[in-house]
């Protein structure tokens, strides 16, 4: 176990390194999250930054050294992540790899899979994407219809996946596909693949998002042939592995290689952004109605931060066991959405401007952030599905 002193020294070291190595403003719009990488320019910039982070030893710290990590205690990565957020550095963009596919392979993969995939995730050389959602099966993942049919040493894939983050840049995909359409339980017919993307018959088409930016693709599979060795686990284990992946996705940072998936968009900064805004000739921050709304947001912000700490103190979670971790995504993402919406609403006439307008507050940062916030209240299971899960698992309400 690292001592308090070692942790404090490490914190200081990371902070110092970030200070010295934080990239200058590149002069073009950088993504606020990993779901907004929409140009080669952004991609090259972020790839270089992630490689630099990894070279300095601040990514994959808890992974084994033979796979590009350092075998350090996870607390070190968690400290590094916090310092990155604090320093306001760009995101570590290869998030599907660093946060979901990587931890899955690290925890459940074979030695061959670990050697083949983990290091490239850390260096940023191998970009990963995720093929779970389908156009007709968003939150209802268990009904996924994309087919994988075994043919000798290969699987033949047919179907469509949607919301594939960086699908047009990715080298690999974690793919959920149906190998047995006749399984008694629909979940048992699914299998999980670590699939290559640069294969004939796989066609990722960029989707333009409500922000006006790109970042996702709809990915078409047309008799695409992938090696049978891409199957992770056994046929029929797809649901199990997908659920495990979603745990990484919804959980805080369990097993993740670290880095930021989102730049920190804090309530403090939101209030700061309102400093110069007037209403009726007075600063908007002096308006009692506005102050009341801001305080409601501050209170929820604080409650969420404290809740993260309370969730690990069992004596203080006795009334509703498991509620805090299970509602974590639901509460944080809904809070972020409300906070960013307020940021736009309170800008006065400038609230109607967007990113290309020179008068837009902070370059339209909050407009973009608000529109972007729906990616989190919809992606990874919509808030409404989350509410069902919480109702059924914590309160025991019937399906």
């Amino acid at each position: 176990m690292a001592t308090e002193q070692q942790l404090a020294n490490f914190r200081e070291e990371v902070a110092g390194w970030l200070q010295a190595n934080k990239p200058a403003d590149p002069g073009f719009l950088l993504p606020q999250s990993f779901m907004e990488v929409g140009s080669e320019q952004q991609l090259d910039f972020l790839r270089e930054w992630q490689y630099k982070l990894w070279s300095a030893g601040y990514l994959g710290m808890a992974w084994a050294s033979e796979y590009g990590g350092q075998g350090a205690e996870p607390i070190f990565q968690s400290i590094a992540n916090k310092e990155m957020a604090r320093a306001g550095v760009p995101i570590a963009f290869n998030v599907i790899g660093l946060g979901w596919a990587g931890p899955l392979i690290n925890d459940l993969g074979t030695p061959e899979e670990k050697s083949k995939y983990l290091k490239g995730i850390l260096t940023g050389e191998d970009i990963w994407c995720q093929g779970f959602s389908e156009p007709d099966h968003g939150s209802d993942l268990g009904s996924a219809q994309c087919r994988a049919v075994r043919d000798g040493d290969e699987y033949v894939i047919n179907g469509t996946k949607i919301w594939t983050t960086m699908g047009n840049y990715a080298k690999y995909m974690i793919l959920l596909a149906r190998t047995n359409p006749d399984a008694e339980r629909k979940y048992d017919g699914l299998s999980f693949f670590l699939s290559p993307m640069q294969v004939p018959g796989i066609d990722p088409q960029p989707i333009r998002k409500l922000t006006g930016e790109y970042g996702f693709t709809q990915t078409y599979f047309n008799d695409a042939r992938i090696p049978a060795s891409c199957l992770m686990g056994e046929e029929g284990q797809g649901w199990l592995l997908a659920m495990k992946t979603l745990q990484y996705e919804r959980g805080a940072e369990a097993g993740a290689a670290g880095g930021l998936s989102f730049i920190r968009i804090a309530l403090e900064d939101m209030i700061e952004s309102l400093q110069g805004i007037k209403r009726g000739g007075e600063p908007v921050l002096k308006d009692p109605v506005v102050r009341d709304e801001l305080m409601q947001l501050v209170i929820e912000d604080k409650a969420l931060s404290v809740g993260d700490k309370r969730s690990v103190i069992s004596a203080l979670t006795h009334d509703y066991r498991g509620s805090l971790p299970l509602s974590n995504k639901y509460r944080w993402t809904e809070h972020a959405r409300r906070m960013r919406q307020a940021a736009v609403r309170l800008q006065g006439a400038h609230g109607s401007l967007y990113v290309k307008d020179e008068q837009a507050v902070g370059g339209g940062f909050w407009q973009r952030a608000y529109l972007q916030s729906f990616s989190a209240t919809i992606g990874g299971g919509t808030s409404q599905v989350q509410a069902n899960i919480i109702a059924e698992h914590v309160l025991g309400l019937p399906k």
């Binding site: 305080m295 604080k302 409650a303 404290v306 809740g307 700490k309 309160l395």
Partner: protein, 372 residues
């Protein structure tokens, strides 16, 4: 911009108190006993009070020199949370706050009443002269050896052996320690409190007071202000406990009541608000425990004040949300006196106002965070 600390911690002692409180409240306060006390004049059970005294709970925050345990109120907020959960109402909160005011006055004149409270005397503070919790001005005054003035919403005034009356004397704030027995029935008017588990009176005071009853000192205004904030925290803790049993009552009904051939708890129109109540309870709990961690027996820090405002604001809204939806979700049953939902909704309405409503607390919070 600094929203205050986010640390929470619990000591062994707190955990023991929490377990003891949960056990005792469950044993002493079944819902039938709560209901039996609603119509009684006293509103509480003297035997229950004696049990609390025997447990040493009346003296938890009283210094050891005066016979108490010398804890900080933060270390036993979970007692009030447990009492709220079982709707167990006694003069304990009033008494703890009276002791807190006395202790925070740091005056030697407070030692005798503190010893009396540690030994089992009930006490209360006459905080209010109007409906306005945010108004610290006082009409009550000490003049020519008499205490004259009107106090309203005095919690547990009928039960209290000691009533602490803030007043002015030659323009300076003093606290007058009045024995309950010295206030005749003609000077008392019982309020009809909407939360029928509670009792309060308005007092028309015109009494002879001696010098030994009067606590004077520079620090009294701050002590009184801090005691109000601590009152807000205790109400927040108590109402968070009540919100838990309120939600549980609602959820039990959603799991058993069928309409249109289905358990009504399967309908998302009922399910999703139930989850939002759960999340509000989780927020309230986090804020209450965090505020508890900021408490100390010294002057309250800025972060402690921030935390108390947050906890009271959130917890007040949570119990009202839970109580309001409990009535609605019980359908026709919810409209009856027999249904327990009304107990929680009435509690919620009392909670809104006690020690300041949510908007008032957010107004003070905004000053601390935005104007500093």
């Amino acid at each position: 911009m600094d929203f205050g600390a986010t640390q929470i911690q619990v000591s062994e002692e707190q955990l023991m108190l929490q377990d003891a409180a949960a056990g005792l409240c469950a044993e002493l306060s079944s819902i039938d006993r709560v209901r039996a006390l609603l119509e009684s004049a006293e509103g509480y059970d003297e035997n229950v009070w004696q049990s609390l005294v025997d447990m040493g709970w009346t003296g938890l925050a009283i210094p050891e020199e005066q016979g108490g345990a010398g804890l900080s109120v933060g270390e036993f907020v979970t007692i009030f949370e447990a009492m709220g959960k079982y709707l167990l109402t006694t003069p304990l909160m009033s008494t703890v706050l009276a002791a807190e005011l006395l202790r925070r006055s740091s005056e030697s004149a407070a030692h005798a009443p503190l010893s009396a409270i540690a030994a089992g005397s009930k006490a209360t503070v006459a905080f209010l002269e109007s409906e306005d919790w945010m108004d610290a001005s006082l009409g009550a005054r000490v003049e020519n050896g008499r205490l004259i003035g009107r106090k309203e919403h005095v919690a547990d005034a009928a039960a209290a052996d000691l009533i602490l009356v803030p007043a002015t004397e030659n323009g300076a704030l003093v606290i007058v320690v009045v024995e309950g027995s010295s206030i005749g029935s003609e000077a008392r008017c019982a309020h009809d409190v909407i939360d029928a588990t509670r009792r309060a009176q308005a007092l028309n005071l015109d009494l002879t007071v001696t010098d030994s009853q009067i606590i004077r000192g520079e620090g009294l205004a701050l002590a009184l202000d801090e005691t109000r904030l601590i009152g807000a925290l205790l109400v927040a803790a108590e109402s968070t406990g009540a919100a838990v049993s309120c939600l549980n009552t609602t959820v039990d009904y959603l799991k058993t009541r069928k309409q249109f051939g289905k358990l009504i708890g399967s309908y998302q129109a009922l399910k999703h608000p139930a989850v939002d109540i759960l999340c509000a309870i989780d927020s309230s709990k986090s804020l209450v425990y965090q505020a508890a961690a900021e408490m100390s027996n010294d002057r309250l820090s800025r972060d402690a004040r921030v935390a108390c405002h947050m906890a009271k604001s959130k917890a007040s809204e949570t119990i009202l949300f839970a109580g309001d939806r409990a009535v609605q979700f019980h359908g026709g049953m919810g409209f009856t006196y027999e249904c327990d939902a009304q107990l929680y909704l009435r509690r919620a309405l009392w909670v809104q106002q006690a020690f300041g409503d949510p908007v008032a607390h957010r107004k003070q919070l905004a000053s601390l965070l935005l104007d500093a």
